[in-house]
Amino acid sequence: MIQVTVFFQAGFKMAERKTTPRDSLVSWLPRAAAIAVGVVALLFSGALAQASVGPPPDLSPEVFQIAKTLRCPVCQGESAAESNSGVATEMRRIIAEQLAQGKTAGEIRQFFVARYGDWILYEPPKRGLTLWVWFSPLVGLGVLALVLWRYLAAARSRSVGADNVSTEELERAEASLSSKTEDQ
């Protein structure tokens, strides 16, 4: 049984941020975990041991550049660059690994799309239905400009003959004149 507890302690680092911080937070303060690490290293095969002890490797800015365009799957409103969740951490690790293998940003994004679908992309792809959202500024501007143009044309046609002064304005001017006379 003792082995089992050691095993669990060592895996602790992997634990995504825990439910019960009150117990877990202080674990390294009183206890020396050096022995545990040693045992763990013996217990597991190389890759695994590497993963569970020692600090995470440093990632290049390029990793974050790519991660920024990907959604963190378990978060809301965060990209894989920003989130600290286990999945996002793993995504950044995978990105770094694939960059080291010489893959391009597009290929890496494709890797995630193959697993999650287009949903994982923060920037909607410029094809299919999401192509239309890229046209939305043009559509919006076009429709509004059309409506505005029609309005202005109508307003101008109504004002023709009034010598560029609208009837409304004449009324207003008259009203203000008459109100002034009333005031006096």
């Binding site: 060592a10 602790f12 680092k13 995504e16 825990k18 911080p21 009150r22 877990s24 937070l25 674990s27 390294w28 303060l29 975990a33 545990a36 002890v53 600090p55 995470p56 440093d58 800015p61 974050f64 920024k68 365009t69 959604r71 809301q76 409103g77 965060e78 920003e82 600290n84 969740s85 951490t89 679908g117 287009d118 949903w119 992309l121 923060y122 920037e123 909607p124 239905l129 999401t130 959202v133 890229w134 939305s136 500024p137 559509v139 919006g140 501007l141 509004l144 400009a145 505005l148 309005y151 202005l152 307003a155 109504r158 004002s159 009034a162 560029n164 609208s166 409304e168 304005e169 207003r172």
Partner: protein, 661 residues
């Protein structure tokens, strides 16, 4: 009497008075009898009193840890610090609607005081009926669906406390209240618009609601800036705006209200654009309801989403009702709204319309982008994301066009452009070109250079207008330039205030461009006392410490930072980025340590730490230039708006709108 009972009774009382107010307003309209109007006016303060009492009862229940109230049991903990307890009313759905309703009743009361005076007796009944109707809706939602005073049979000894994200920073005390004040405030111009369409008097409401629209707009602007600052300080990724669906929901009404504030001037001045103003204000108010619907229905995922429930349907119904009332009335009277007049593009009104076009497009794009995942799913069943990269890209051309118009618009005179104007435009264009060129020569990116050019262009516009005004006044009245300036600022508030707001917006544009472009982000896992040389700093990690606080525990990674380059001067010292662990949350919240400066902000975040031995910590450093200027620009806009709202100086005819020369 327990807080829960008091709150429940107060809610019922305010519902009763809201219905009464609605009924009396209806009778006043039906029988054209001002006695009913007087009665309706009296109901308004009573509704406010009831809701204020209910709100205070909720605060009281929270302060006294009255866990027999379900809301308190779910969202409060005895361990919460006092300020967290005080802001808990708007930390969850029920309480936030109570705050909303309370603020709504405050506006209703203030408007009711104008009824019969500025708001004439023909329109007042309809305007009040609209506001009371909105009031009845919100109070009914609380009484029948999400009552904040529902009791629990067996009160727990302690609760979970509010969502940790909301207790992580004091801005949470400010941002939601400002947001609600802005959202709710837009109901007032909407009520005026409805009454104007019912009574068929299409002109005067725009003069009368200028004040209310500006109040709401000012609060909305302040709330958006406060929200940005909150994001920056709390979310730990060093950004201030992420185009999250709820952020979008707050910016859509802002764009529409801004469009309204500009087109209104065309109607005030030339009587044109009546139908557009009705549309813009209906859309702006509907957009606030849309934002509420979005956060409370779960229809689109968001960070800010409250727990969803049947309430989504009710808000959807309310949203559709607002749109139907607004546009239904408008299409009924549209035959009478046939404006006549000619507008040249190179005139003030032309620029204002151009601005409205861009603001409308902006609102449209953000709405479409926010809803597109839902549209795609409805059409094909596939899930997609439309995230910040999209919104930033489409915002750039629209933003540039707006900044261009913002400079030129106020320089152009009404109706027609003359030679004086051409010279001004020449100088402005020159500063745009020189600024952009200088930026490029300094090796700045094209976008930032353009932003610099646009900023100078806008400054030049304001400076030219002032200097000409001062010169004219100075020579004709034979007074000093300073005196002329002060007199101009005091007498022509509207113009002066809007210039300040415009300078603020131009500064915000520059700050956004620079901070988005020249942000440096670096992350490294440091062992104890290891030295990290980054961005002209020498960062050393000191032993991690654990801090026990009443409502949370925190791991702090103290950093000793020394500046090693001239550029990072002032960034040295000690930093304490931390991870806060709240009992109710699985994931800790990173609280960054930020050092603000007029040049660069240094932002340290503790990402991860060695949970076994405390031997290392992963630190992220984000260096962003000019973020502080963004907050300064927000303050400028707020001050400018405040100046616009100040009562007119003595010597000005009260109630009359100052002509915007």
């Amino acid at each position: 009497m327990s807080a829960g009972l008091l709150g429940g009774v107060s809610l019922l009382a305010s519902l009763f008075f809201s219905v009464l107010g609605l009924a009396f307003s209806g009778l006043a309209y039906r029988f054209r009898d001002t006695r009913y109007l007087e009665a309706a006016k009296r109901a308004a303060p009573l509704v406010f009193a009831g809701l204020a009492a209910a709100f205070l009862a909720l605060e009281w229940a929270l302060i006294t840890h009255d866990f027999s109230v379900k809301y308190v049991a779910l969202h409060h903990s005895v361990k919460d610090p006092l300020w967290v307890t005080l802001v808990t009313p708007w930390a969850a759905l029920e309480g936030s609607i109570l705050l909303w309703a309370t603020l709504q009743s405050l506006y209703t009361w203030l408007v009711s005081r104008a009824a019969g005076k500025q708001l004439d007796v023909w329109r007042a009944p309809i305007a009040l009926a609209t506001l009371f109707g909105i009031q009845v809706f919100f109070v009914s939602v609380m009484v029948f669906m999400v009552n904040p005073f529902t009791a629990v049979a067996q009160p727990p000894l302690d609760g979970n406390g509010p969502n940790p994200l909301l207790q992580n920073h004091w801005m949470m005390a400010v941002h939601p209240v400002l947001m609600y004040l802005g959202f709710v405030g837009l109901s007032v111009p909407f009520a005026y618009a409805v009454s104007s369409m019912v009574v068929r008097r299409y002109q005067s409401w725009v003069h009368e609601t200028r004040f209310w629209t500006l109040v709401a707009w000012g609060f909305l602007t302040a709330a958006i800036f406060a929200g940005g600052w909150w994001s920056y300080e709390v979310l730990g990724w060093g950004g201030y705006w992420a185009f999250d669906p709820v952020e979008n929901a707050s910016i859509i009404p802002w764009f529409l209200a801004t469009a309204f504030l500009h087109t209104v001037q065309v109607q005030e001045r030339r009587g044109l654009f009546k139908a557009w103003n009705f549309s813009f204000i209906t859309l702006a108010f509907a957009a606030t309801v849309f934002g509420t619907f979005l956060t409370r229905s779960g229809v689109i995922q968001s960070v800010h989403a409250f727990a969803s429930g049947p309430i989504g349907v009710v808000f959807l119904g309310f949203l559709l009702l607002v749109l139907i009332v607004g546009f239904g009335l408008l299409s009924k009277v549209s035959a009478e709204l046939k404006d006549a007049g000619e507008i040249r593009f190179n005139s003030r009104e032309g620029a204002l319309l151009g601005g409205a076009l861009l603001f409308g497009t902006f609102a449209f794009v953000i709405l479409v982008g926010t809803l597109w995942p839902l549209v795609v799913e409805a059409a094909s069943g596939a899930k997609v994301s439309v995230g910040a990269p999209f919104f930033f890209q489409v915002s750039i051309p629209l933003g540039v066009a707006l900044l261009l118009l913002m400079g030129a618009g106020p320089v152009l005179p009404w109706r027609n452009a003359g030679t004086q104007v051409r010279r001004n435009l020449f100088y402005m264009g020159l500063s745009l070109g020189l600024g952009t060129g200088a930026g490029l020569a300094l090796g700045l990116s094209l976008g930032v250079s353009l932003a610099l050019g646009l900023f100078l262009y806008n400054l030049a516009a304001v400076a030219l207008m002032f200097s000409q005004g001062i010169a004219e006044r100075g020579t004709s009245l034979k007074i000093s330039a300073l005196q002329a300036f002060l007199e101009l600022a005091a007498t022509n508030k509207r113009r002066f205030g809007s210039h300040v707001v415009h300078v603020g917006v131009a500064l915000a544009g520059l700050a956004i461009a620079v901070s988005q472009t020249y942000r440096i982000e670096s992350e490294k896992t440091l062992r104890l006392s290891e030295v990290w040389n980054v961005a002209g700093l020498e960062v050393r990690l000191l032993p991690l410490t654990l801090q026990e606080e009443s409502n949370r525990q925190a791991i702090i990674a103290p950093l000793k930072v020394r500046s090693t380059s001239r550029l990072s001067w002032g960034a040295g010292g000690s930093y304490q980025p931390r991870l806060n662990f709240y009992p109710s949350s699985r994931t800790p919240l990173a609280a960054p340590h930020v050092r603000y400066s007029l040049f660069n902000d240094y932002y340290f975040v503790l990402q991860e730490f060695d949970r076994d031995k405390g031997a290392w910590a992963t630190i992220r450093l984000i260096v962003t230039p000019m973020v502080l200027w963004l907050w300064i620009s927000g303050a400028l806009i707020a001050l400018g708006t405040l100046y616009l709202l100040l009562p007119n100086a003595a010597g000005f005819k009260k109630g009359a709108t100052a002509p915007s020369a």
